[in-house]
């Protein structure tokens, strides 16, 4: 295979991988639409209300928009942090989603500029937020639930 052919094949593979990765969240949200459920703890059907609270999926992220070019470097950095440094230090984060995931979510939702400002806000309000935020059980421990929609409700409407 020529150099040109190799490059084209690599290019094609990269495109397919990106499309596959972009479609993953859609598949996940489709799977959420039906399945055994119950809102009564007295009559659980495999998934109880408590289970649902264990890993809440923020509604504003189920149909996540594709990030723009400007957001990509920030998302790469955050992805790098989550894969390398995060596993070592994220266990200490008392919030859900964690600050790095919150940053990813806010950049996806509002773009890099507002996303970064909201991330700075999140890092400042962790302490006082714990007085009011509801607790959710995630990964075997309780964390304070503070999704993006809790901090943009006064200017952003779905």
């Amino acid at each position: 295979m020529t150099k040109e052919g190799t490059r084209n094949a690599a290019d094609m593979l990269a495109r397919i991988t990106i499309i596959f990765l972009l479609l993953l969240p859609l598949q996940a949200s489709a799977a959420e639409t039906w399945g055994p459920w119950s809102v009564s703890d007295d009559a659980p059907v495999m998934v109880t209300k408590t289970d649902r609270m264990t890993a809440p999926v923020p509604a504003d992220l189920t149909a996540r928009p594709v990030p723009g070019v400007a957001a990509t470097p920030f998302l790469w950095l955050l992805s790098f942090y989550q894969k390398t440094i995060g596993p070592v230090v994220s266990g200490r984060c008392p919030m859900y989603p964690t600050c790095s995931q919150y940053s990813v979510d806010s950049i996806h939702k509002h773009g890099p500029f507002i996303g970064i400002v909201m991330t700075a806000d999140r890092m400042m309000h962790e302490g006082d937020e714990q007085k009011d935020a509801p607790l959710v059980r995630v990964g075997g421990r309780y964390r304070y639930y503070d999704p993006v929609k809790n901090n943009d409700f006064w200017w952003y409407h779905e």
């Binding site: 009559a43 059907v45 400002v117 806000d121 400042m124």
Partner: protein
Amino acid sequence: MVLFLLFLVCRAAYGAEMPAEKMMGFADSLFAQGDYYRAITEYERVLYHNAAGPLAKQARFQIANCYFKGDRLDQALERFRAMNREYANEETGRKAYYMIGEVYYQKRDYSRAIDVYTQFIESYPGDEQVDAARIRIGWAYLRQGKWREASEEFRKLPPDSPLHVQAEGLAEGSETYPGIPTKSPALAGGLSAILPGAGQLYVNRPGDALVSFLLNGAFIWATVEAFHHDNNVTGGILLFFESGWYLGNIYNAVNGANKYNRRMEKQFLDGVQDKYSVSYLYDGHGGSMVAFTMRF
């Protein structure tokens, strides 16, 4: 002989179909337990065996009700709409229309809920749920912060209505809405723009204030020092980070003010709800009842 007897037993068991009423009773029992997912299956069973029977309409209504009670609001909306279209001139269609308003209310789409309830009152002025619809309209206005409209709506209940006393109480409660304590988001943001952390102190978030003050103070100091010592690249990098902290500090103060206002409004609404409690109950046959309690 044994085979023949087995055949008879099996045939008898096969032939003993459960009557529709019993199936419905079982489905209602699951519904009463709050097991809406399995109740839907049982109501579907009633429909499958008695599609043209007298219980079919009730089963369909209950399926929609299961989705509603089970917090599957989009599916509930779809079902109630279909029932309203199909039985437009019957009681079931009327009840389904009322329930469309309930679904919008639960979805917190208060404008649409008001539209549906208003249309319901205009279309069916003699219906027993008209007063309940008016109460709901009042609440929908109140949740939007439109306390004058809410009060007007509560006062529209006629004196002979069993809900009149509670509606008067709700009207009076609505009129105290302007007394809810608030913090100005603009002032909070302005204070933090002048001195990082000041806006957070104004909105009663001392922890945020301290973090904001220290972070911004440290980064501003480091940036100034870097430029002062001709470390322009370091200074530029620090300035980039400080810009994020500074804007985040202003956002934090404005966000804190809005959260404070939301919390105060929720406390107020919970207080009114608690004092003039209105419970919307649904029986197992698609009918609704309104229950009131008053606390002094």
